[in-house]
Symmetry: C2
DNA sequence: ATTAGCACTCTTGCTTCAAGAGTGCTAATA
DNA sequence: TATTAGCACTCTTGAAGCAAGAGTGCTAAT
């Protein structure tokens, strides 16, 4: 009973602080929240909560504000993420439905998410490493330069220029291109690189083999490029709008460090389908010490689909680093530690769901 | 003589203010700059300059700061943009030279420019409307969905999904694709749309013609899409670093309004090769009232190349909206009105030059 | 046309002060 | 033992007052 009320107090403090952003005192709590005890009692509880590290007071004679630990408890208690209402979900689907390409869909998604949460939103494009090749095109830019365009099953398009020392006849390139596409389709990028390399060795390619090797190296590089999944960020202006409680510079710096953000969000969205939350120092990122990150993976590789097609395609080597159910990309939102966690988590989840559908759906495409 | 010294004083005030960011008084001026007159004389000049609208004093008893008009005069006087030193230019070329694709080059460019100027940098990808088609690929995503990938001579890649109501045999699509590429190559996008549309009518395409028409519409839409040239922005964090003299929110808002920025920069970079400067209200953009924009076009369509190839290719209709020497995209930097104009203009110019070379160079490609 | 000198104006930083909010502790109560 | 009333104490916040400093405008002299 006692323990229980203490936590109710904690919850009340946090809710109030999230609303008002001001240190909350015992009397406010006693008045506004129906705790049925006097302010003095609450004072005792708050003192205890402070001892336990859930609350802190900015100065001797002010109300209390939650600590990182406080928020963590609060978020953990928030176990069941409230689903958005059907209407809200429909609105999202509606807004995103007439996207015209994957990029377009992702751009809309960040903007939408940022708008819903009123915070910074981040969406990554599907990681190339975790996608399958749908087509590899080789477009001559000049006699000695080729543009390799790789289209993945997630709908993303990556490009890379290759320059050669020799001039190659275009029909031979076409042939090679056809051959590559025949062999590589539906392999992961790293597997495809292997295919191409093998092709370079086996076939009677003569002057082409050099080119093929270069191409293989390129594809491999793409697969391993950590920041391969393009990052979309929106809503940085929202940051400038909140009264500058503190210095925003480090936060902005962090946002420009794409690699850092990428790693952070990826870690956070490991277990699929669920939204992850990192609060303050949990982000292990200098600029985010007073921010929280809410993120979810999306685009889990469809399990049955994979295994079905694994057995079908004998050409594909086993060293594919697919992890079943590992998300292919992520979507998230970054805000102050005193953000509205419930709302943010719901929104992130909803957008993630939508994007997952969208990607899995490439049998029907974007309408 | 008198007129001349007044303007020297103006120049000195502006230079000092750009350095220190603090209102500059007559005594400082007399001491630090070798004007050879007393502070009282300078006071008179400053009073005159204030009457003429070049200077203003924030409060009765403070130094003077430049007005918009002051900056304008200053910038106009700065006629000859200082070229960067050979070493600096080499450093730029060096940093950008191992770009691996157009996107990559553009991303590096913004980051670099932002780093050099210490301000926000913006680079647009080549506008599709002003580029020529190098290749149009049609990749089936499913039986009823096609991904159209358009590759332009500037090296940019645009994509768009098309969904159909009927299933089309893939070999027929290949044929159509070949035909389209045969006819459209080297046309502008809008011309290509026309080609495809004509193809749809003339050929015995049967069930394909519907698809072709859809494709034509898509290509046309891409050509007309104002924001088609993707926008790259870097260095927003720099904004947060300068002491917040004033509210940054509107500035951030403006930066997120891609369409607005796009239009502004485009207008500013009309006359090619030269950098344009818009100061404060000259930008006609609410959020930029105390910012200045320095921008330059890049990637002028190479004049002779165009005309040569205009006569050669009889298939291309005349309604191409090429304007000789009109830039294809732009690069610029945004900073406070008290920025270091000379340095910023030099940097913008250097990067623009480099990018122009890069694009024109698609006969040699990225090294 | 320039300059020295001087009175005047404003900002800026500091200190003081009173009001208000909130706490911690003690002693009384159920 | 858990709760509560009461009270002294602490600390922030805002206003007000004040002295120092910077810079100007004006006048009179060169």
């Amino acid at each position: 009973m006692k323990q229980s009320r203490r936590m109710l107090v904690l919850r009340a403090v946090i809710e109030d602080y999230i609303r008002t952003q001001e240190p909350v005192g015992s009397s406010t709590l006693a008045r506004e929240y129906g705790l049925g005890v006097s302010s003095a009692t609450i004072r005792n509880d708050m003192a205890a909560l402070e001892d336990e590290g859930y609350l802190i007071q900015p100065h001797t004679s002010a109300g209390r504000i939650p600590t990182e630990r406080g928020y963590r408890y609060f978020v953990d208690e928030l176990a069941s993420v409230v689903r958005l209402s059907a209407a809200q979900r429909r609105a999202i689907a509606n807004f995103l439905s007439d996207s015209v390409s994957l990029q377009d869909a992702l751009e809309r998604s960040v903007r939408l998410l940022s708008h819903i949460t009123g915070q910074v939103a981040i969406v990554s494009g599907p990681s190339l490493a975790k996608s399958r090749v749908r087509r590899i095109e080789i477009v001559p830019l000049s006699t000695t330069t080729m543009l390799a365009v790789i289209i993945t099953d997630a709908g993303s398009v990556a490009q890379h220029t290759l320059s050669l020392d020799v001039t190659l006849p275009s029909d031979r390139i076409m042939d090679l291109s056809d051959e590559i596409n025949r062999v590589c389709i539906n392999s992961s990028l790293s597997a495809a690189a292997g295919c191409i390399r093998r092709l370079a060795a086996v076939q009677d390619l003569r002057e082409m083999s050099n080119f093929a090797i270069k191409l293989a190296r390129t594809v491999e590089a793409m697969a391993n490029d950590e920041r391969s999944g393009q990052l979309y960020i929106a809503g940085t202006s929202q940051l400038a709008h909140q009264q500058p409680t503190e210095d925003l510079a480090p936060l902005f710096d962090a946002l420009e460090e794409q690699a850092v953000i990428m790693r952070l969000m990826n870690n956070l969205s490991q277990q699929n389908g669920e939204v992850g939350v990192a609060i303050g120092s949990e982000t292990k990122t200098p600029g985010l010490m007073s921010s929280a990150v809410v993120s979810s993976g999306y685009g889990h590789s469809m399990v049955d689909q994979i295994s079905a097609d694994r057995s079908a395609d004998a050409d594909r080597p086993d060293n594919d680093n697919y992890r079943q159910d590992a998300p292919v990309a992520f979507v998230g939102s970054i805000g102050p530690t005193h953000m509205d966690y419930a709302a943010t988590m719901s929104a992130v989840r909803a957008v993630a769901r939508y994007l997952t559908e969208l990607i899995a759906q490439d049998d029907t495409g974007w309408s």
